[in-house]
């Protein structure tokens, strides 16, 4: 049996093996060597690999990104870590204007092998500035590779691939995935930075999802199975570009589409996936696609509102029934928790 690791353990192992394998790999970020080590993903690395290669940084997201870029063009392979995407907004200029463009605008002579990890937060009242899911901002910019690993296997394999890639990679991790377990091989392996993956075969409806919403989609597939509907779940994995081949092949089978993303629906990943579906699979579609994503509202803090704000597996399953025009009844969700602001009862934070 293949060894099982949690998502955060898979990330930790990827850092460790990368640092051991390549002296040019650096890890930098506020709190990287700290007592909690970015939710466990960088814990102990400074003790093992030294304070030159694993560094704590000033609270300077903007300059640290330029500094990582400067090290990258000199042959280093830095991993820059932001505990929240929301803080990385202070680095949009060097990400968008510089890192993304240095290869193109210098006619191909410059390479910026830079990996920027950004954690998407959610739950426990993190509110408007600790919970955003801004993948579409980055995916909009030519020159950036934007990935959202869902499974522990991809968390490790894609981080290794990102660090070895010569392009800047935006690596988005959802905090609610951190405790999920899955098979993770030992040793260095890579998982591709392009292409989607079918995680659950089905024939009636295609659910294309990102990151944590892929987990919700798999739960939705179970709910739908109980209602007699066969759902295919695609983990989109990579946003640049959306994998039109996998999407079209699935829609050729099912003719129905639900897109689920962790971000806002408008001008976001769901809009892009639907556009790709229209272009690539229009003849297969038997009904208007449905989307399950965030409303155009800032994240509220109180669980009374946050529970209304965040869609879950039931919403995805209902969207599938809607696009199918089905009046089947879904199993009632277990009312085991008053609030839905934790991924599961075993998750006790920090968030």
């Amino acid at each position: 049996m293949v060894r099982q690791l949690k998502y955060f353990e898979a990330l930790h192992e990827a850092h460790r093996e990368l640092l051991a394998d390549d002296p040019n790999v650096l890890v930098a970020g506020l709190g990287v060597p700290g007592p909690t080590g970015i939710f466990g993903t960088t814990k102990g690395l400074q003790e093992e690999f030294g304070p030159e290669r694993v560094i704590d940084t000033p609270s300077s997201e903007n300059a640290m990104t330029g500094i990582a870029l400067g090290a990258a063009i000199q042959g280093k392979r830095p991993i820059l870590v932001h505990m929240r995407v929301d803080f990385a907004l202070l680095s949009m200029e060097p990400v968008v204007n510089q890192a993304a463009k240095w290869h193109y605008m210098y006619g191909g002579v410059m390479r910026a092998p830079l990996t920027i990890r950004m954690i998407i937060g959610r739950g426990w009242g993190q509110g408007p500035q600790h919970s955003q899911s801004l993948q579409s901002w980055f995916a909009h910019v030519p020159g950036l590779k934007v990935v959202m690993p869902t499974r522990p296997y991809d968390a490790k394999g894609m981080l290794i691939a990102a660090v070895r890639d010569d392009a800047p990679v935006i690596f988005l991790e959802h905090r609610w995935l951190y405790n999920l377990e899955g098979p993770v091989p030992e040793g260095l392996y890579t998982s591709p930075l392009e292409g989607a993956e079918v995680l659950h075969q089905g024939s009636d409806v295609t659910i294309a999802a990102t990151s944590h919403m892929t987990i919700e989609a798999l739960r939705a597939a179970d709910l739908l199975a109980a209602a007699g509907v066969s759902a295919e779940v695609i983990d989109l994995r990579c946003l640049t570009p959306i994998d039109g081949d996998t999407l079209a092949a699935s829609l050729a089978k099912t003719g129905h589409l639900v897109v689920a993303d962790t971000g806002q629906a408008s001008y976001g990943v769901v809009a892009e996936v639907m556009a790709v579906a229209m272009k690539r699979a229009f003849p297969y579609l038997k009904a208007a696609p449905q989307s399950v994503a965030l409303p155009h509202i800032p994240t509220p803090t109180t669980p009374a509102l946050a529970d209304l704000f965040y869609p879950d597996a039931t919403d995805i399953a209902q969207a599938a029934l809607d696009t199918l025009g089905s009046s089947a009844q879904l199993p009632k969700p277990a009312a085991d928790r008053r609030w839905k602001d934790t991924p599961d009862p075993s998750f006790t934070g920090p968030y």
Binding site: P58, S60, A63, G70, Q74, Y104, Y106, V109, D166
Partner: protein, 336 residues
């Protein structure tokens, strides 16, 4: 003037005659290249924003003669002088301005994105202050690799108003990185004067002092003065003693962007420009060398002719070069 301002005349050893000739030659090349661009711009074949540095040539000239090919330079929008002084290929620069595939960035960057890795000119970008942190990161890599390599970052007075400027200086100071921050203070950010942007009586160099590094304000139109301060800064960097900050007071003669005169805009006076033109860094240096017996009339004529020929050849090279093929459009989005 900062508290750390020193009497350069007393303290510094002047560069030797050969070095001073190299400094002069550097200024002449930049001056003639910029004048050629200004003269040709109206033809409409240089189709990109172009920021000329006439009047500011002494800074890069005084510094570059201290650098080896392995030392690195980063710059901003007004970068032609920094590029040429560091040894950037003049043909490739003109071809880049002309949008040709033989340009240093294959025509994809233009005047604002010069690059020449072969000489250590590591790129330029017009977003104020953006390349400062990149230069600091480059110095960080050099330090990690125990490389004897200094990174120079050129920027203007406006860049020091950006947050990332302070973030970058802070990191460089904390890690004692081999980087030199060179601020060309030409008194205007586009058309906005210093007095509405920064506190009166506070030299920009004090910001370097505040970030814990030796800092100085100096006459940026005197290449010997710049050279003396830079020599000290380069020595500190090579000795592992960390970053330095040099504020060079200077003035641009042309409009902010483009080949023309902008006095009619009214944001600065003809008198102010005339005063600074008297302080022409090239003429001052040429006269000084001549007075010291280091430059004869024939030698000067030779330098001028050589530079004029080089510029003419670069313009001819650019104009004769092909534009990029259509396939180039989608190349280099991602490295392959």
């Amino acid at each position: 003037m900062t508290t750390q301002q020193k009497d350069i005349r007393a303290a510094a050893v002047l560069p030797d005659a050969k070095t001073r000739l190299a400094v002069l030659e550097s200024m002449i090349r930049v001056r003639l290249a910029e004048e050629a661009i200004a003269a040709l711009y109206g033809e409409g074949e240089i189709r990109c924003p172009t920021h000329l540095c006439i009047g500011q040539e002494a800074v890069a000239a005084g510094i570059s003669v201290l650098l080896s090919r392995d030392d690195l330079v980063f710059s901003g929008h007004r970068s032609h002088g920094h590029y040429l002084a560091k040894g950037g290929d003049m043909n490739a620069m003109f071809a880049e301005l002309y949008g040709r595939v033989t340009g240093c960035a294959r025509g994809k960057g233009g005047s604002q994105h010069l690059v020449d890795l072969a000489c250590g000119f590591m790129g330029a970008a017009p977003i104020l202050s953006s390349t400062i942190s990149v230069g600091v990161g480059s110095a960080w890599a050099a330090k990690l690799d125990r490389r004897d390599q200094v990174s120079i970052v050129y920027f203007g007075d406006g860049a020091t108003e950006e947050g990332t400027f302070h973030e970058a200086l802070n990191f460089a100071s904390v890690h004692k990185l081999p980087v030199i921050f060179v601020c060309e203070n030409n008194l205007y950010s586009v058309h906005s004067a210093m007095d509405i942007r920064q506190p009166e009586g506070r030299p920009i160099a004090l910001l370097g002092t505040a970030h814990g590094m030796p800092s100085v304000t100096c006459d940026g139109n005197d290449a010997d003065v710049v050279h003396a301060h830079a020599a000290e800064a380069v020595a500190r960097a090579r000795a592992g003693e960390g970053p330095s900050f040099i504020e060079c007071m200077t003035y641009r003669w042309m409009e902010h962007c483009g080949p023309g005169d902008d006095i009619p805009l009214g944001y600065r006076t003809a008198e102010e420009l005339a005063d600074w033109r008297i302080r022409d860094p090239l003429a001052i240096y040429r006269d000084r060398l001549a007075a010291a017996g280091e430059l004869g009339a024939a030698a000067e004529a030779d330098l001028m002719k050589k530079a004029r020929d080089e510029v003419a050849a670069a313009v001819a090279f650019a104009k004769a070069s092909p534009y990029p093929e259509a396939a180039e459009l989608s190349e280099h989005v991602f490295p392959v």
